[in-house]
Symmetry: C2
Subunit: 185 residues, 2 copies
DNA sequence: GGAAGCATGTAAAGTGTTACATGATTTT
DNA sequence: AAAATCATGTAACACTTTACATGCTTCC
């Protein structure tokens, strides 16, 4: 079995305490979704493959009449996760943002529309910042007790970065508004 | 024809002066690749579709015995581009970074490996910053003459943001190194 | 009793990249 | 003369998401 980043996402989430596929998906939606989203259609087949490769083991864990599978990371799985964390070969980081693409071509717009576009970009940055701060707060508290610090650190890095971007855009908006004011006056 | 972001990338690049599919690809590699990369296998079919939809028109533009197609944006195409730039419906921004995912799970590593990982992340941020500043410099000069400012603005936003991230990570590295020093001493 | 959430999975569709294929021209 | 670049396109592959399908449980 060829392990890729999504495989390690499963292993890592199991290690942090999620036990079922459903729980892993919920956990990623609250934490990694900003830099590594996933879907249930990925989680279940991935867990099945990891089980066949003996990197995780599955146990029945029914909740009343509702079936549930509880997965745990095997010693082999743990080694694989650690080796991945230490290795320096990563898939190239990828970023795609339609809003930024619009900004790239924004010279085609009149200044008022340029300002509106910048405002949308800033709103989005601010909203992402808020989400990152809000969503991590309850998690961070629970993790701290167990000596887990990095989810909170990553969330803070993301939030601080988006705050920086929002401020940068706000400065540019002001400059534009001023130059427009000069044109009008 | 259903227009998506890659369609507007073609229209926008044609508008900025690229005429052939090959030239569009080269232009994106120098500018939009950080927030909207593309490949020749996308460019050529997209241009063909845009031509069939009459948003661009094609003309033979041979270079000696080497065939070349020169595309120009039609009035309809220009309207479509402007409408897209003004509209506020964007595909959700997506970001995927294996390095950040590792950082999220970094509690599983000993402190020295945590520091190494942070160092790799910072190196990458610094290198991206450098690339953005270097690659935009010659473009910005040429664009400025024609009243085109946003490619340079977007590049500066990207470079400044990566510089911010690098500094953030450097601070964290220092803190970690200090706390490790205390443990040892 | 209905909506939302828990829980698992598959199939189809969408989106993108790499590799393949070809050939002219320019640079070293 | 070989390598790099210009130029166009297709086919195969990889990866991911959305939609479909099913059924239990809890909350309102």
């Amino acid at each position: 079995m060829k392990l890729r980043a999504p495989s390690y996402l499963m292993l890592g989430m199991l290690r942090l305490g999620a036990t079922s596929g459903y729980a892993i998906k919920k956990a990623t939606d609250l934490s990694t979704r900003f830099f590594w989203p996933t879907s249930l259609a990925q989680v279940y087949p991935e867990l099945a493959a990891l089980e066949e490769a003996r990197l995780v083991s599955r146990a029945d864990d029914p909740q009343g009449a509702r079936a549930r599978s509880a997965y745990t990371v095997t010693a082999t799985g743990d080694d694989a996760l650690l080796a991945w964390l230490r290795s320096s070969r990563e898939a190239p980081s990828q970023f795609r943002d339609e809003c930024v693409l619009k900004l790239f071509f924004a010279d085609a717009l009149p200044v008022e529309d340029q300002i509106a576009l910048l405002g949308r970009l800033r709103d989005r940055a601010e909203s992402t910042e808020r989400q990152m701060r809000e969503e991590i707060a309850p998690l961070a508290e629970a993790f701290k007790q167990r000596g887990i610090h990095y989810p909170e650190i990553v969330a803070r890095l993301g939030a601080d970065t988006h705050a920086f971007v929002a401020a940068w855009l706000a400065r540019l908006e002001e400059e534009l508004a001023q130059s427009e004011g000069l044109d009008a006056g």
